[in-house]
């Protein structure tokens, strides 16, 4: 009876994962979807595993040790809860990176314990299946763990792009490490019960090191792609660990995460017009200071706060182009305030959302949603470009790479070929940023020297706040 209930709970939990994710496809149902998947589904899975009878565990004896489990859940739950309420929306990529890493690390722990049990048993259980799934969980989880940690440190700018990198040969080093790791995996599995624990330990060390070596040479600008890819890995490592425990819900959950990470990875690559392989081994962003040259010769024109306010006030249509700087400055609410003032004066206001603006997919949408901007005002790439063609003013709020015309006309540029927002089609362009520093791709932006462009230097939030008072005093 208990077994039936537990089995049913797992099944319903797994179905809720799917249902919850499919409810994420509309803003109306998304929140409920997260509750279905992340709270009810996960809750059923946890309860099921706590109360599963011995028969389900396939173990003769069960000692329960509930105190250890409870302690772990309390500690983990509190940290998770606290972290989730402390984290700034700008730091989401870092947060996801850390969580990925934790999932991967857990899979590694489980795999190592399984290896240990396997080798120390008189009659090892599970044979090839047990070894294969442990090896998978170890490889994928290990890479997800250390890779995510490096990605986190890179995003926090604790380590720089050239840290630990062997300039020309790093790709070969990685291929070598990969081959060694896979070789070890085949060897461990093929040896069967003749293997020994030290083999698993060597294997683990190589997998963990491969994760570091894999991410280290990838440029900071590409971290979001790497994080989505590592998200796939952490899902697949959970699925592999599920095979160890013969747990269908772990497998289903893990595969769903894997699919989601893969889709986001490919989507970002497509938006940047690069292949995944190019991101993983290619230089872009890795070079770091590829741009910055040529600033001296051309002249940048500035606009005064007052002039900008007047221009905005007497225009017919304004397009805000938010980018990473909006997130850094936390300027989304002031931006919305300006929108309200302008709309009250009959100016049509839209937001042009580039798919990779910011640091993660959908980053700008979350920020603007936070500021209560209704989502029909958010235009995607194509709609934005046709709207821009007839717009009076484009206001660039901390965006840079996503409005860089070099992507269209300079084949030597590292971002050449990436689809971008054609802001210079608007009659006037006002750029809000703090300095002439380049954006994430580390390259200079010819847009700033365009005739129609005027710069308005300063922190985006300060500048917009001042614009609000100027507009009100008009």
């Amino acid at each position: 009876m208990l077994l039936s209930i537990v089995n049913l709970a797992f099944l319903i939990g797994a179905v809720l994962f799917v249902r919850g994710l499919s409810m994420l496809s509309s803003p109306e149902t998304a929140r409920k979807g997260n509750i279905y998947a992340g709270a009810i589904g996960m809750g059923l899975a946890i309860l099921g595993s706590i109360f599963a009878p011995a028969a389900k565990l396939g173990a003769a004896e069960v000692h329960n040790n509930y105190i250890w489990i409870l302690a772990g859940m309390l500690v983990g739950g509190s940290i998770g809860y606290y972290a989730s309420y402390k984290v700034k929306m700008t730091a989401m990529p870092q947060m996801v990176a850390i969580f990925n890493g934790l999932g991967g690390a857990t899979a590694v722990l489980l795999a190592m314990v399984e290896f240990n049990n396997f080798y120390s048993a008189d009659v090892p259980e599970g044979g090839m299946g047990a070894l294969l799934s442990s090896a998978l969980a170890l490889i994928i989880g290990g890479v997800a763990f250390t890779g995510s940690m490096i990605a986190f440190l890179k995003l926090e700018e604790v380590i720089k792009d050239n840290f630990l990198v062997i300039p020309k040969f790093h790709t070969y080093l990685n291929l070598l490490l990969l081959a060694v790791m896979l070789g070890l995996a085949v060897w461990v599995v093929a040896m069967g019960d003749k293997g020994e624990m030290w083999m698993a330990i060597v294997f683990m060390v190589v997998a963990l090191y491969y994760g570091i070596s894999f991410v280290v040479p990838i440029g900071g600008a590409d971290m979001p792609v790497v994080i989505a890819l590592l998200n796939t890995f952490s899902g697949l490592s959970a699925a592999s660990a599920g095979l160890i425990y013969d747990s269908k819900i772990m497998v289903v959950g893990g595969l769903l995460v894997g699919a989601s990470g893969m889709i986001l990875t490919l989507l970002m690559c497509r938006a940047m017009n690069r292949s995944l392989l190019n991101v993983l081994i290619g230089g872009f962003g890795g070079g770091g200071a590829a741009g910055k040259a040529g600033t001296g010769e051309q002249v940048v024109k500035e606009v005064s706060m007052n002039d900008a306010a007047i221009q905005l006030n007497y225009s017919k249509s304004v397009v805000f182009v938010p980018g990473y700087g909006l997130a850094v400055a936390q300027a989304q609410k002031v931006c919305k305030e300006i929108e309200d003032i302008l709309e009250a004066n009959g100016v049509e206001v839209r937001y042009a959302i580039h798919p990779v603006a910011g640091r993660m997919p959908g980053h700008m949408n979350v920020l603007l949603a936070e500021a209560d901007v209704p989502y029909p005002k958010l235009l995607d790439l194509d709609d934005a470009n046709s709207f821009l063609a007839n717009a009076d003013i484009a206001v660039i709020v901390g965006a840079n790479d996503v409005v860089n015309p070099a992507a269209l006309d300079d084949p030597s540029s590292p971002i050449y070929g990436m689809p971008i927002l054609r802001v210079w089609d608007a009659k006037h362009v006002i750029v809000l940023k703090r300095s002439m520093n380049p954006g994430y791709a580390g390259i200079q932006n010819p847009l700033f020297f365009h005739d129609r462009t005027r710069m308005l230097f300063g922190d985006a939030k300060d500048t917009l706040t001042k614009l609000v008072s100027e507009l009100k005093s008009l």
Partner: protein, 105 residues
Amino acid sequence: MQAAMDFFNTPANYLWIYLLVFTSILGFEVISKVPTILHTPLMSGSNAISGIVIVGAILLVRQADPNDYFTLIMGFLGVTLGMVNAAGGFFVTDRMLQMFKKKTK
């Protein structure tokens, strides 16, 4: 090679492979419907689901001998890390989606 083929052909394993393949396809179908505006919550929400490894860690602790501190500590760590991932991911996603909610009023 022969061993690998035998492994694949064992009816139970072969059934598992079906489950793996079709669940993956289902994942792609479901997730490819999520629109760009919800990609950040999708990322953190699906990430939370990878906290499902906690199930493995719980089963591990329950089977461990009360004196086998190696396993107990590994399991405790697993439960903790898995829980951080699951709870943190869920709450942060909820926090984000709450913002999207407000606008329907």
